[in-house]
């Protein structure tokens, strides 16, 4: 199970990576995409939308079910990965790189400290089976 060290993780399986200049990139983990199966639909927020940590910001849908996405940080959405609208399967193929979902300009970067590091998330993911 691939869990890169260069980012932090939420218990709800989103990852958050510092992209520079107060901007955080957000996606879902390999464990999450594997559990979902083929992703066929992604609902993205609007650029400019304000989020608080824990807010629902979008949805990924697999063939079988819809899954909410929760923002691990607070801030303003600066970019969304609109290529996911035509190619939602990119999240399955590349959950950590091409399958990024949104970018958020954060107000308080210390919120990242509240997230899990790779080792802690590994335990979370393994506990779910």
């Amino acid at each position: 199970m691939n869990i890169p060290n260069d980012r932090r993780y939420a218990a709800s399986h989103e990852w958050a990576k510092v992209s520079g200049d107060g901007v955080i990139t957000i996606g879902i983990s390999e464990h999450a995409q594997d559990a979902l199966g083929d992703i066929v639909f992604v609902e993205l927020p609007d650029v400019g939308q304000s989020l608080n940590a824990g807010d629902e910001f979008g949805v990924v849908e697999s063939v079988k079910a819809a899954s909410d996405l929760y923002s691990p940080v607070s801030g303003e959405v600066t970019e969304v990965n609109s290529s996911l609208e035509d190619a939602p399967e990119t999240i399955n193929e590349s959950p950590y790189e091409e399958g990024w979902i949104i970018k958020v300009k954060v107000s308080d970067s210390s919120e990242l400290d509240a997230l899990q590091d790779a080792d802690a998330y590994k335990a979370t993911a393994e506990a779910e089976g």
Binding site: D38, V40, F41, V59, V63, A66
Partner: protein, 350 residues
């Protein structure tokens, strides 16, 4: 939790298992639901459906009994023929949908949904008291595999003692496949050509391995569901339940004009709602339970929905007010508080 004889085969190739109607079944294998769905539409897929129930009805009273207890007319069947049918309750709804095969003039086998097997058996036994019939639960005696897709005839034919191209739709023969005794029926639940294969549980592993080695792609219940939905086939518990009258759907043909248990409640259906196909015209996926709206009001609910792996469109089925049931009617489906445009269509969706 029960296991089919093929449990180890599924685990060995990395199947994602799920609890289904009390059975450990594969939802998909490593390739995923979409890839399996496409394999069935374009080549050959293989499903383990051994969890389904088989009930044998034999004896002098078989035909009279089954004409009373089921909606389709078994008097039309001769040995080697089968048909789609339904078990009805006495309040105008259904207990299960099923397939019935005639093995002999007084010998029938019913194949029913795993989830309803107990209910179906006890209902049949209750009604069967008034007839000279033996009703035997044969579920433990059979493993069931479904080979589906345009490549099925050629693939299976290479291992069959008999000429399969001579087995027409809805017919069943007893034959040998790779030396294994099996009943092979030209039926299926995917909309493609294919066969449902009954064999002894002890022979299931060898048969499965032979067919996979010959090129059949293992497919799980996830793809089975997207395939049947794309083909417009109902799934009991969704499109049909104890409260739905098949006379208000495209399956009215199953209900034959004869005396049957519960006829008074079912026959003169005043269809306030009808079962229809729904295609989304805007981005989104309709799911079971979502509200169907028209003219600002809720007119029905979605019973099954997904994205068609073949066409990539949002497809669904649902019951809605009869006034809106004509093909081409514009409606909308409420998806996460948004109204998403849709049209009433007649399945299949591809």
């Amino acid at each position: 939790m029960s296991r089919t004889p093929l449990y180890d085969e599924h685990k060995d190739i990395g199947a994602k298992m799920v609890d289904f109607a009390g059975w450990q079944m594969p939802i998909s294998y490593e390739g995923g639901i979409q890839q399996e769905h496409l394999a069935v539409r374009t080549e050959t897929g293989l499903f383990d459906v051994s969890h389904m129930g088989e009930i044998r009805v034999e004896g002098e009273g078989s035909v009279d009994f089954l004409r009373y207890a089921t909606l389709n007319d078994v008097a039309k069947l001769s040995p080697g023929r089968g048909h789609y049918s339904m078990l009805q309750n006495d309040s105008g709804g259904l207990i299960d949908d099923l397939y019935i095969y005639c093995n002999g003039e007084q010998d029938f086998i019913i194949v029913c949904n795993a989830a309803n097997q107990t209910a179906a058996l006890s209902h049949l036994r209750k009604l069967g008291d008034a007839y000279t019939v033996d009703i035997v639960d044969e579920s433990e005696s059979w493993a069931l595999l479904a080979l589906q897709g345009p490549g099925s005839v050629l693939l299976l034919g290479r291992h069959c003692d008999d000429d399969l191209s001579a087995v027409k739709k809805n017919r069943k023969i007893t034959t040998r496949l790779a030396g294994i005794s099996a009943d092979v029926a030209r039926t299926g639940y995917t909309g493609e050509d294919g066969f449902e294969i009954f064999c002894r549980p002890d022979d299931a592993v060898k048969l499965w391995q032979t067919l996979v080695k010959a090129g059949a792609q293992p497919c799980g219940l996830g793809a089975r569901d997207t395939l049947r939905l794309e083909a417009g086939f109902p799934l009991f518990g969704h499109e049909f339940t104890g409260d739905t009258n098949p006379l208000c759907s495209d399956y009215a043909w199953v209900v034959k004009d004869k005396n049957f248990y519960g006829r008074e409640a079912m026959w003169n259906a005043n269809c306030k709602q009808k079962l229809v196909g729904i295609k989304l015209t805007e981005r989104g996926i309709a799911r079971e339970g979502y509200r169907i709206l028209a003219d600002g009001e809720e007119i029905g609910r979605v019973t099954s929905g997904t994205i068609s792996p073949f066409t990539r469109e949002g497809i669904a089925m649902g019951w809605l007010a009869s006034d809106y049931a004509s093909v081409g009617t514009g409606i909308s489906v409420e998806i996460r508080r948004q109204e998403v445009g849709a049209t009433v269509v007649k399945p299949p969706f591809y």
